[in-house]
Amino acid sequence: MKTINSLLVLVLLSQAARAQIDFSPLDPWRGWRPPVEHRQPVNTQHVNSNPSESSTPVSRPFTEKELERDRQAKIKMEASVRHDMDKPESVTWSEITIVAGGSSGFGNIPPSEPGAFAALALATRQTPASAIPTTDLNRAWAILSAAAKADAYGNTVSDEDAAFLAEQAAIAAQGGALQVAVDEPTHPLSATQEQLFRGLLDDAGKNLQTMTDERQARANVDQKQREIAQALKAGNITPAEAGAQKQTVSDDLNKAQKKSAGAKEAIKSVPKTIVYILKTK
């Protein structure tokens, strides 16, 4: 059955590859509508079909017998449809409007370098990993583990899809409404895995903080340089002291940048850690 499924998907995908739609040859026919006589109501009965007398169809009233037959047919039809069709209460998907992807970046951190999984770190900024309920954690895990590994057909997830799924995992960790369906009972974490996953989230949150610190250090540079220049101009410090102070600011920025580079590398390795947790029993 699995082989047949795979074959079906292959057939569907090969169809997809050919399905580049180009309707431009049809342009000259746009706006065509079927002739009026083809669009008349179905129940209209032609009792006078002699075109020489009138081209307008004339209806005759239904007989009582016909109406009763129609009533019975209608009752039977309605009962049959209502019996067979899905019921409104069977539709359990959320009707809450969810803001779609395309957020303005990962916590105002320059993108790309830390990779798609930086979005996940944002979740732990709002909810510490230790405070995430196990159900939400399982949902987040189900999404992330799918994003981190190739699917059953060998497809790997693209960067943009991984970013989308990481965002969804972040929302799941905070108990929010999702744009993907997760059946968390089929992906439960073992106690060891849960501990490792909470640790991963904690680390991601700390790494995000480190990257935020770098942004702050950069923002401070201009202000501190202005202060040093003013102090020098006012004669409060000597040129040598000004140089030393500038060097201190420079060293602080260097330190923040180095730490941030390490944090970015750590976030980039999140998928590897997820695969490691997957293999852990």
Binding site: M1, N5, V9, L12, L13, Q15, A16, R18, A19, I21, F23, L26, D27, W29, G31, R33, P34, H38, V42, M77, E78, V81, D86, K87, P88, S90, V91, W93, S94, E95, V99, A100, G101, G102, S104, G105, F106, P110, P111, S112, A142, A147, D151, A152, Y153, N155, S158, E160, D161, L165, L178, Q179, A181, G243, A244, K246, S250, Q257, K258, A261
Partner: protein
């Protein structure tokens, strides 16, 4: 105090003092690492040698100077790659420049363009947002159009619409003609505005948007449909090209809706051969989207507005009378229209296909519109086709078993 070393190591991604991962060979064969190494060396050389001796004691290479130098070197490199048409390498180099100079508006603007060319739409959104929030005085029409269409690719139509409308407003204000030249951008911006109006609403909303741009009547009807077809194919194509399956599924589902509306409601594809061709392509598109959906490791959920519409249709059928004749103002007629609409919007959602099949099977009446390549549509065909889509989209779903039984009765092949 000593000057910082600028020694480079190709294996070291730390970009503070010894950065620059190799990005491959330049067109002339010189490695990028070597090029940038030379560039930075020259900068340090000019500081150390060219600065008069009496000033050297107070001249330092501070972290920000190094950032400026390295960032500019990466950005220059990105320009070279872009000129040679290598959009991926150009994006990588500009992404490095942004790491050094995240607050430089020119670098941010270039990063926005490079990201768009490389299909990194989240980075486009990020960089454009940085420019808007911090350097609005240099916001331009190309950045806003790229920002808006990137949001479109990512599926955030509401924000995309807001951005393009702001761009149109700025263009029309006449105070920023240098960065928002109407002659170049007016038509394009209005087309995107119309497209997002459709993606957030329906064809009527698209017709109502930008009423002043197109002539009224049939000509407008056709012009707007053509624009929608082109731009929705564009955003769907951009997502598909970069293997963004979730985004592509969303936008191409809207394409599915548009094409079927063109065929079935507005008769835009004519009759006979034209209807056959468009209908066949439309059915192929539906199967393509079902195939994508089936291949996804984590399945997307139906959009909330489609869920609401589906539930409303089911509620009407369960609680209101059919009026027997399905006249155009009857509740069941409205419910049938809603079911058609849901299957167009979310062709990969199995349950609405099943419900539509059941309605078609039991009512046994001829709908007044087309159905894919068929006019007039035949209820038996609608039933069979919708059952096939239902089983194809979810062979183990809640309705799959009943759908398979009906297909078997109808002597139809059963999708696996």
């Amino acid at each position: 105090m000593s000057c910082k070393s600028t020694k480079h190591d190709e294996n070291d991604h730390n970009y503070t003092n010894k950065p620059m991962p190799a990005l491959g060979k330049q067109p002339n064969g010189k490695s990028l690492m070597k090029h940038i190494y030379e560039h930075v060396l020259l900068t340090v050389f000019s500081i150390v040698i060219l600065v008069p001796a009496e000033c050297q004691s107070t001249t330092e290479v501070y972290a920000w100077d190094q950032n400026q130098s390295s960032g500019q070197a990466w950005s220059d490199k990105s320009d070279e790659f872009a000129k040679n048409g290598d959009s991926e390498q150009a994006w990588e180099a500009e992404a490095q420049a942004v790491q050094f100079l995240p607050d430089d508006p020119l670098i941010l603007r270039d990063f926005c363009h490079r990201s768009f060319d490389a299909g990194r739409y989240r980075d486009v959104v990020w960089s454009a947002r940085q420019i808007k929030d911090n350097y609005d005085w240099m916001m331009s029409a190309p950045v806003m159009v790229e920002w808006s269409s990137s949001l479109g690719v990512l599926g955030d139509y509401k924000q995309a619409s807001q951005i393009i409308r702001e761009a149109i407003q700025r263009m029309n204000s006449g105070t920023e003609t240098g960065r928002f030249p109407a002659a170049e951008w007016s038509t394009y911006m209005h087309e995107w505005d119309i497209t997002f109006a459709y993606l957030m609403g329906d064809f009527g909303d698209a017709l109502a948007a930008d009423a002043s741009v197109f002539p009224s009547g049939n000509a407008k009807h056709h012009a707007v449909y053509g624009i929608l077809l082109q731009h929705i194919q564009e955003i769907g194509g951009m997502a598909e090209k970069h293997n963004m399956r979730y985004a592509a599924l969303k936008s191409q589902s809207y394409l599915n809706k548009l094409v079927r509306e063109g065929i079935e409601d507005y008769y835009l594809y004519g009759y006979d051969a034209n209807l056959k061709a468009a209908g066949a392509s439309s059915r192929e598109l539906t199967w393509k989207l079902i195939g994508w959906y089936r291949s996804m490791p984590i399945k997307p959920v139906p959009p909330p507005e489609a869920v609401a519409e589906y539930k409303k249709a089911l509620y009407i059928i369960q609680n209101q009378s059919s009026s027997g004749d399905f006249s155009h103002d009857s509740p069941w007629f409205e419910a049938e229209k809603m079911l058609f609409d849901v299957t167009r919007r979310v062709p990969w959602w199995a349950e609405p296909h099943y419900s539509l099949a059941i309605l078609a099977k039991n009512t046994n009446r001829r709908p007044s519109n087309n159905y894919y390549d068929q006019w007039p549509a035949d209820t038996r065909n609608i039933t069979a086709q919708e059952l096939l889509f239902c089983v194809g989209a979810n062979p183990t779903g809640p309705d799959a078993s009943a759908a398979k039984k009906l297909l078997k009765k109808m002597k139809q092949p059963i999708p696996q």
